[in-house]
């Protein structure tokens, strides 16, 4: 606290360092998300209705867990809606892909909520 008050430059350096670590963390989160989505979408091989139902249930379970952590994402809900829409049209490949995407997004939101339980303090003004 005293360091911040005494020197504007040192304060700026501290902010820059914090920003840098935040950027690294954000990049890590994006990379993890990209890998999850890539892994999820690569399993596309002539999906059936049963495959869709399993994938959708897994996504819903993950999203519910994010809900208990009070940290659902709008994009997860959108991907779940897309999955349902595709399944209604009988396009199960697309429905499975959207379900997997929703699951990956929900898992990323769980990761975020869990890691922020302690990381929020890094942003605090002292």
């Amino acid at each position: 606290m005293s360091m911040i008050r005494k020197s504007g430059n040192r304060f700026s350096e501290e902010i820059m360092l914090k920003n840098k670590s935040r950027m690294i963390r954000a990049s890590t989160l994006s990379l993890a998300l990209a890998l999850l989505i890539a892994g999820a979408t690569s399993v596309l091989a002539a999906g059936s209705e049963a495959d869709f139902k399993a994938a959708y249930a897994a996504a819903e379970t993950a999203n519910k867990e994010a809900g208990t952590l009070r940290n659902q994402w709008t994009v997860t809900a959108a991907a779940l809606a897309d999955a349902k829409k595709a399944a209604d049209k009988g396009d199960f490949d697309q429905a499975i892909a959207s379900s997997k995407e929703a699951e990956a997004l929900a898992k990323a939101s769980i990761f975020q909520a869990t890691s922020e339980k302690t990381l929020w303090k890094e942003l605090e003004i002292h």
């Binding site: 504007g8 994402w73 939101s109 922020e116 929020w120 605090e124 003004i125």
Partner: protein, 286 residues
């Protein structure tokens, strides 16, 4: 014998370290609202040395000279005026049972905005002005209003208008639950959420004065003093509940329900750290 003495001294030293370390670690984590408020104010006044303290309540207009000029012109014919008039009319009209809003509030509800939210020790929770207004309606047999706009915005606009210039005076009673609510609000403020991985602080502490698309971001200091606000983007009035829920949506997070505990605690924290700054609501924003 010597080795026994060494062992005993080592154990004693370890115990001393352990006992010495624990209280200081706990102390570092113990919420200290007055220290937080001072650090909060110092941060913004040092970041924006040219902005007068009381001017922070004007949000983006305090950050940018061009915007400030636009705002002064806008204030000639304030877009929230219709809402204040509507709120005044609603406030003075009795409920079906003959009672009115004035019966639910201290000083008949006039000039009291600066005292909300407060911590209710009976209930053990934070009570916001919006919540108190709907409770007043319900206890008098009237249906509650939507928390986000129109009637609720009009009522809070009128109550803020009668309190203009009065400094925020949020109290944290000597009750561990009040301190917990304050700390929960602080945690919510700094916690990143949504797919964009933003916290409230990302925009309103790290980047006030910067643009996010076409908007100039407001500083967190004094950010609630101008509520409710007319926003050109909304083409209408919005309450604190509307501001919180739309912020969450904008960062691609699913908003909580208006007046959920998290939002009430957040309002408590943000109002407390702006103690001493004048109520300027209702406000107008781009």
């Amino acid at each position: 014998m010597r080795s026994a003495i060494h062992l005993a001294s080592a154990a004693l030293a370890l115990a001393a370290l352990a006992f010495g370390a624990v209280p200081s670690a706990v102390a570092a984590d113990t919420p200290n609202p007055p220290a937080d408020a001072k650090a909060f104010r110092d941060f913004f006044t040092q970041k924006f040395p040219k902005v007068k303290l009381e001017d922070f309540v004007n949000g983006p207009y305090s950050m940018n000279e061009d915007l400030h000029r636009q705002w002064e012109e806008k204030e000639q014919f304030p877009p929230y005026e219709f809402s204040v008039d509507m709120g005044k009319e609603m406030f003075s009209k009795p409920f079906k049972n003959g009672k009115s809003y004035a019966d639910c509030f201290p000083n008949q509800g006039i000039g009291i905005r600066q005292n909300y939210p407060y911590f209710d020790e009976k209930e053990g929770k934070v009570i916001t002005l919006e919540l108190a207004l709907n409770r007043c309606r319900e206890v008098n047999g009237e249906p509650p209003f939507s928390y986000v706009k129109d009637e609720m915005a009009a009522l809070t606009a009128y109550m803020a208008f009668t309190s203009r210039g009065k400094p925020f005076d949020i109290k944290i009673p000597d009750d561990p639950r009040a301190l917990e609510a304050y700390q929960n609000g602080k945690r919510y403020f700094y916690t990143r959420r949504g797919q964009l991985n933003f916290s409230c602080a990302t925009c309103h502490v790290q980047s006030p004065g910067e643009r996010i698309r076409a908007e100039v971001l407001a500083p967190a200091l004094g950010i609630l003093n101008a509520m409710p606000i007319y926003r050109s983007e909304w083409s209408g009035m919005g309450t604190i509940s509307r501001r919180f829920t739309t912020c969450n949506t904008q960062i691609r997070g699913v908003p909580l329900n208006p007046q959920d505990d998290e939002y009430r605690d957040l309002e408590y924290y943000l109002s407390y750290v702006s103690n001493g700054l004048p109520i300027s609501g209702p406000g107008a924003r781009p």
